[in-house]
Symmetry: C3
Subunit: 280 residues, 3 copies
C-alpha cells in the first residue's frame, strides 16, 4: 500500500471504530486534547486517580501518558494505568513533555519508558534526546532551536537517531518540529506538513499525542503507519488552519481553525495533503 | 404559568440575581463551565481544597459537584462542601460523570446522592441507570447508544424511569441526550432542543450541569422548572450554534458559537425556542 | 522617556527576549494563561509539583503565583518555587485570586507576600484590600462593586491606597477594574484601557497576571513600567476585541478575539492605544 493510501485508511479506521482513549494528561491543554480526540472521531476519557484508572483503562482501546504537569499522584496513576494497559495489550503512547527540563520529568519519562511496553513516543527533539540519555538542553517545554529538524541537512541525521532510539526503546517514535520524523527500528519518514503557527499556541504537541492515542487504538500491528497518519492529520490541519487566517485573526482564531480542521479531515483529505517521504 | 413563560422567567431571574455558583468540577472542561456560568449571567467560583470549600460555598447560592476527574482530594472537598451547603440550605447539583464506567465513579456518585440532600442530578441515561442500580454499560463518559432516548418510542419508558428515579432519590433529574427528559417524582417533560454537534465537543454535559447550578441558585421551590429552563437554555444554544456553522467550520467554531449562544440567550429568546412537552 | 514610549519599549522587549515564564496557576484558566503568554511572545511552563518546581523555575525568567484553585500541594509548590526564584533574583508576580473570599485564600496570599520578595501584585480592588488587612468583602473571585474604581472621583483615593499598599508591601501593585491603577510606593498611574466584556469571560485577570510575568522577566529595575505596559497590553486587546464583535457574537467569540488581539499587539500599536495618566 502507498504511504498516502495508508494514511487515508488509518484516518478512516479511527472514525469507523470510534475508540475510547484513556488520557492521563496535563491540566493545561486537557480540554484541547479531549476535543482533538473527539474531532478525530474517537472518544476521550480523562482519569488519573490511582483507584479509578484500572477500571477506566480497561474499557478503553489505548492509553496516553503525558507528563506536562506531572505530580506524585498522577505519576502513581500513570503506573497503575500503564500496568493494566500492558496486561490487556492496549497500546501506550508516551508524551515526555519537558523531559530534559527537570530531573523529575526526565526520570519519570525514562521510568515509564523502561517499565511499560510503550508503543509510541511523541515529543520534540530535545525531549527525545533527553530520553536517549544525550546531553539535552530542553527549553522548558519547547525544543531547543539547535535541536530542531528544520531543513534537508538535518533530516538524514535525525532519521538515524530516530531509528536508533526506536530500536533501543522498542517502540515507534514521532519527533515533531518544523519537519517531523516518524520511525521504528528499521524505517524512518519525514513529514513536511504543519505550520509555524502551531508553535504559537499551547497544546499542539499534546493534541497530537492524544490523536496518536486514537490512532494507536486502531493500529493493530501497524503502529508506524498509525503514528505517521496521526502526524499527517495534525500537520495537515495546521496548514489548513493557517490558510484560513484573516486580517484581524491571531492565535485565538488559529486555535479554533486548527480544531475545525482536525474535525473536518477525512482519509481522502489527508491522503491529498500528506507530504511524507521515507528517509534512507 | 405556561411552560415557556416559566422558562423565560427562570432565565431572566438568573441574569437579574447573578448568583455565585460554587463548582467542584473536572479539570477537563472547567474553563468552559466557568464561561457557561458567566454566559448565563451568574458568577462561578471553583474550589476543591477541603480547607477552602467551607468558606467558599458559604458565600455562594448553589453547589455543583461533577465527578469527571474525581480524585481522593476532590472527593473529600465535595463532602465538606456538600455538608456545608446542606447546612445552609443551598441547592446541590450532582453530575455523575462516568458513573457505570468505574467502581469508584459509581460508588462516589451513589454516596454523594445518598448522604447529601441533592436537589438535581444531571447526567446521560447510562449514568443515571448506574445510579439507579441498573445493570449499566456506560461507555466511558458517553451514553451507551442502547440507553439513549432518541425517538418517540423511548420517551414514555424513559419518563417512567425518570419519575421513579426522582421519587427514590428525592430530587429532580435531568437525563440529557438526543431527547432530554426532566422529571421530579410526579411529572416528566421531554425537551426536543439541542444539536448532535453538542456530542462532538467535550463539556456539553458539564456546561449544562454548571448552568443547572446557576438556575438552581434562583429556583426557590421550583427546582423542576429551573432544571427545565437550564436544559432548554443549553439545547436552544446548541441549535443556534449549529445554524451558524459555515463551510469551513468544524468543532472548534461550534464550541465558540455555542458559548456565544449561551451568552446571548434571554428569557424571551428561550421561550420562543423551547420545545418542551409533558409526558404522561 | 514618555509613558507611551515606555509601553512600546517594554512590549517589544518581551517579543525580543521571549522569556520563559514559570506559572503555578489555577486549573480553570490555565490554558488561556499559557496562550496569553505565548501571544505576548514569551513561553510559559506550568509546574506545581514541589519536587519539580525547583528545576523548572531555575530555567525561567519569572515566576507567577496564582491562587485561584489553591490546594495544599500547589501551596507547597508555590513556596518551594518562590524560595528558588528569590534565591536566583527572578521576579515573582502574585495574583491573590479570591483573597477576602475565604480564610485560606487570604492567609495564603498574605503569607506569600510576607515571606517572598514579590515584585508585583495583580488583583482586583477587593482582593488587594483583603491583602492590606482592610475589611474586604470580595464577591467570590469578583470585585465587590463598592470597591471598583469606576470614575474620576474614585481615582485619587485609589491611587493613595495603591501607593500606600506598594510602600508597605515593598512591591509594585496593579489593581485592575473599570479603571486600572498601577503604582509603586511613590508614583501611581490610571489606565483607561479595557472593555466591560473582559468581565464576562473567565480568566481576564489571570491572563493579565500571566502577561505580567512575561513583562516582569524583562523588566530589570523598571518593574513599574513593566506592570504598566502589561496592563495596557491586556486593556488595549480588550478594546480591540470588543470593536470586532459582530451581530451573532457573544462571549465565546470575545474570548477568541481577545487572544487574537493580545497576539497581534506590537510596541507601536500599544503606544498608540495606551490611555495612561499619572495620578498626583
Amino acid at each position: 500500500m502507498s504511504l498516502t493510501a495508508s494514511v487515508s485508511e488509518r484516518a478512516d479506521a479511527v472514525r469507523a471504530a470510534a475508540p475510547l482513549v484513556h488520557c492521563i494528561t496535563n491540566y493545561v491543554t486537557v480540554e484541547s486534547c479531549a476535543n482533538a480526540v473527539l474531532a478525530a472521531g474517537a472518544s476521550p476519557i480523562m482519569s488519573d486517580e490511582p483507584d479509578d484508572v484500572d477500571d477506566i483503562t480497561s474499557i478503553c482501546g489505548a492509553l496516553v501518558l503525558n507528563i506536562g504537569t506531572l505530580n506524585k499522584q498522577t505519576i502513581a496513576g500513570m503506573k497503575v494505568a500503564g500496568a493494566k494497559a500492558a496486561e490487556l495489550g492496549h497500546p501506550i503512547v508516551l508524551d515526555p513533555v519537558g523531559a530534559g527540563a527537570s530531573k523529575l520529568r526526565t526520570a519519570t519519562a525514562c521510568e515509564l519508558l523502561d517499565t511499560l511496553p510503550v508503543a509510541l513516543v511523541r515529543g520534540n527533539m530535545s525531549e527525545i534526546k533527553a530520553l536517549a540519555g544525550n546531553a539535552a538542553a530542553t527549553q522548558g517545554v519547547d525544543v531547543n532551536p539547535s535541536d530542531a529538524v528544520c531543513d534537508e541537512d538535518d533530516i538524514a541525521e535525525a532519521a538515524v537517531f530516530a531509528r536508533d532510539f526506536a530500536a533501543k526503546a522498542g517502540c515507534v517514535v514521532a519527533i515533531t518540529g518544523p519537519i517531523d520524523i516518524v520511525a521504528d527500528a528499521t524505517r524512518a519518514f519525514a513529514v513536511r506538513n504543519g505550520s509555524p503557527l502551531q508553535g504559537r499556541i499551547t497544546g499542539s504537541g499534546c493534541m497530537l499525542s492524544a490523536l496518536c492515542g486514537a490512532y494507536a487504538a486502531c493500529a493493530g500491528d501497524a503502529m508506524l503507519e498509525a503514528a505517521l497518519a496521526a502526524v499527517v492529520h495534525m500537520g495537515a490541519a495546521g496548514q489548513e488552519a493557517e490558510a484560513r487566517m484573516g486580517d484581524a485573526d491571531g492565535t485565538g482564531s488559529y486555535h479554533t481553525y486548527l480544531m475545525d480542521a482536525i474535525s473536518r479531515a477525512t482519509g481522502a483529505s489527508l491522503a491529498e495533503a500528506a507530504a511524507v517521504a521515507e528517509v534512507a
